[in-house]
Symmetry: C2
Subunit: 414 residues, 2 copies
């Protein structure tokens, strides 16, 4: 391919922002909408790449921050780049490192919840003033490794260099994260800085792609990341600003609840250029996220919750989530979900998986992760089919009613 | 099959006790010599049954003691029996529970080393007098669960009932374990009790097989377990006593060093009926164990060390063991062992596995376990070929010299 990425939209759902399409990358295609599998540290936790294929995973997203610290971007590159290093021959994404710089830098002393849930405006700045753990300037973000506390600087340029070294097909621009309840002034300032950084990312990215061309290597794609928290005007401003730049696609950043997808994601996707792919960053394990995300314009999702929850024994079924460690499953010889076509449900019973969890056996994490991942991947694949068949709304209503019963997430209606 | 087990010896190695053969079970055949994969709690740790097949594993051995406590033998039976419960369609073994009753009952308070390494004769009896953790009478062994300390009784009859409930193809008779350095009197007493228990096992086993026949179920096989520690006369007496009874095969119990295989195993195998299969219980991860075991008459081995060591990053190569977490492998993009045909070596580098271990990723345990298991399975398979080709001694010398260099285990010579 002589372009980093192309995107064909094959079907749109009238009256919505939803569409079905295909993203073409140098490592193959992604049929969208698609759930991108979380491969944080260049491994999908407890799962082999063959197992990812077996449950229909199309692409993997790894974290630049984690790989930068361990094993180091140079090691990944020397191993043939992200896909080759981890034995995954399909498309790959990396995030910019920004989310972890702002959350884990604080987590090293404070725990990640300090960012996500503080009521005091911008947790990051509050922590900066006390501990100097993350210091943001126009240049970039100075932070401490959550592993050893070492002081590090990440800039738009260094994020691009790291991502090109790691070598995924699709990169994200380096953005500034704000706490969900930060002040309007703080959010606006972070957005403006994100925009200035985005332009620096584009410049450095373009230079690095030129180097790839000279070396006969694949081009890499860059998504701009829209910020603006829950503010309609700022989200639209951010989408318009970035939408006017030559990005290959767009990520939607920031932390919000499923019920806010129908506002935040809609504002952004109405404004972004319609022909470019859109990725919802770090969100999309719950059915409500997936249906609403697609309805309001999302093409790809990534989220590590399905595997993380799986390792805790929280398993998805069409009738809602169950905790497989529960005593009531000790002698239940039905599959986790009778309607599921995953490897785990085809070969194992709830009783067996219950036993593995109670005996603290590693295979439990593997079987549970395969099941949850298959559940989410299949749901998004079925959403894609429902767009193509024009049955989206009937499917959404039936699926969410069955999954949530009368406990729909706040802000979600059928 | 209307017999529980048949054994065909296809080749003998002149001047030794070694032979190649095939054990036929209701769940398929085992080409011997063979390494039986350790599936302690009805799972081979960190590995799926398909992965066991991929590295050539032919049969799995699970532990009656562990399954009795969790999930309970009745649950395994309700799940279709051991193989069906864990999704393994090949042959299966269970041990009697005896080893764990004597070692883990003490381990609940004392740690397993108290049995294996005490210099004071019979650790078990010493502990009994202090803590009443294991109390042996002619009836059976009263012990405490290592999970919750609950008081339990295991008898020859209950061991048979548990094993028939769990439903493996090949069972072991309930035996009494003594510490390696126990007094002659203690060892002889335990051996005599083991013999009395063996006859009770045979009786109960035969009744239970009759019930299987009435229900149209597969018959199950029973191995007698030879004891006698390091004492030549006792080992020969035990092998002769049990060899004269109608067991389907024989296990060799007790704890000893690789260098003692050429004495202990030889005394036993010279005495046992030649046409019956012989299993070395809980030993056989190290190349010296495997070569000497086969040379002195062993047909099957089981050992959990390959997976346990794998989870600690200790990986087998033809040139000896390496610790994959070591910094020197951080940028080593060769496979764990260039000569290895396992899934891990075909698809991953030392650098990647090093990264997984340093990042504490579950996939590291899986990849490492597959590698170590393949190493041991392949080595035993190659030993089998060398018996058939008549190249056993040349292969043994070349293999052990390369693996150990000038550090041969005590008592082992080339």
């Amino acid at each position: 391919m002589d372009t980093a990425l192309t995107f064909d939209i094959t079907r749109r759902l009238p009256g919505t922002l939803a569409r079905a399409g295909v993203i073409h990358t140098p490592h193959g295609e992604i049929r969208t909408p698609a759930f991108i599998v979380g491969g944080t540290k260049a491994t999908v936790k407890a799962i082999t790449p063959e197992q990812i294929r077996s449950y229909g995973g199309q692409a993997v997203l790894a974290n630049t921050y984690h790989l930068m610290l361990r094993p180091g971007a140079d090691i990944v590159r020397a191993g043939g780049g992200l896909g080759s290093f981890m034995n995954w021959d399909g498309p790959t994404f990396t995030d910019s490192g920004g989310f972890q710089v702002f959350s884990l830098g604080i987590a090293y002393k404070k725990g990640i919840d300090a960012v996500a849930h503080t009521q005091k405006g911008n947790a990051k700045l509050a922590v900066v003033s006390r501990n100097q753990l993350v210091r943001v300037t126009d240049e970039g973000a100075e932070f401490r490794s959550h592993i050893d506390g070492a002081k590090l600087l990440m800039t738009p340029e260094s994020s691009m260099e790291l991502q090109h070294t790691i070598g995924a097909d699709i990169h994200m621009a380096f953005d500034e994260l704000t706490a969900p309840l930060a002040s309007h002034e703080t959010i606006a300032a972070a957005m403006n800085r994100t925009h200035a950084w985005a332009e620096r990312c584009l410049k450095r990215h373009s230079d690095l792609n030129m180097e790839h061309t000279e070396r006969g290597e694949n081009l890499q794609a860059l998504y701009g990341v829209v910020q603006g928290a829950r503010d309609k005007a700022l989200r639209r401003e951010s989408a318009a600003f970035l939408g006017a730049r030559k990005f290959d696609g767009y990520g939607i950043g920031g932390v919000f609840e499923p019920g806010e997808i129908s506002s935040v994601v809609r504002w952004v996707c109405e404004t972004l250029p319609a022909e470019k792919p859109r990725h919802l960053l770090g969100m999309g394990s719950q059915p409500a996220d997936l249906f609403l995300g697609v309805e309001y314009g999302i093409d790809t999702f990534d989220c590590v919750a399905p595997t993380r929850q799986a390792r805790n024994g929280a398993l998805y079924t069409l009738n809602g989530r169950i905790n497989i460690s529960n005593t009531r499953f000790k002698a239940d010889f039905s599959p986790i979900d009778a309607a599921c076509d995953c490897y785990t449900c085809q070969h194992y019973t709830r009783a067996y998986v219950n036993h593995l969890f109670r005996a603290d056996e590693i295979l439990g994490a593997t079987l549970a992760s395969i099941h949850n991942e298959r559940f989410v991947v299949r749901t998004v694949d079925q959403i894609r089919e429902s767009i193509i068949n024009g049955t989206f709304f009937a499917f959404k209503q039936q699926f969410l009613a069955r999954y949530y019963g009368d406990k729909l997430p706040a802000g979600v209606s059928l």
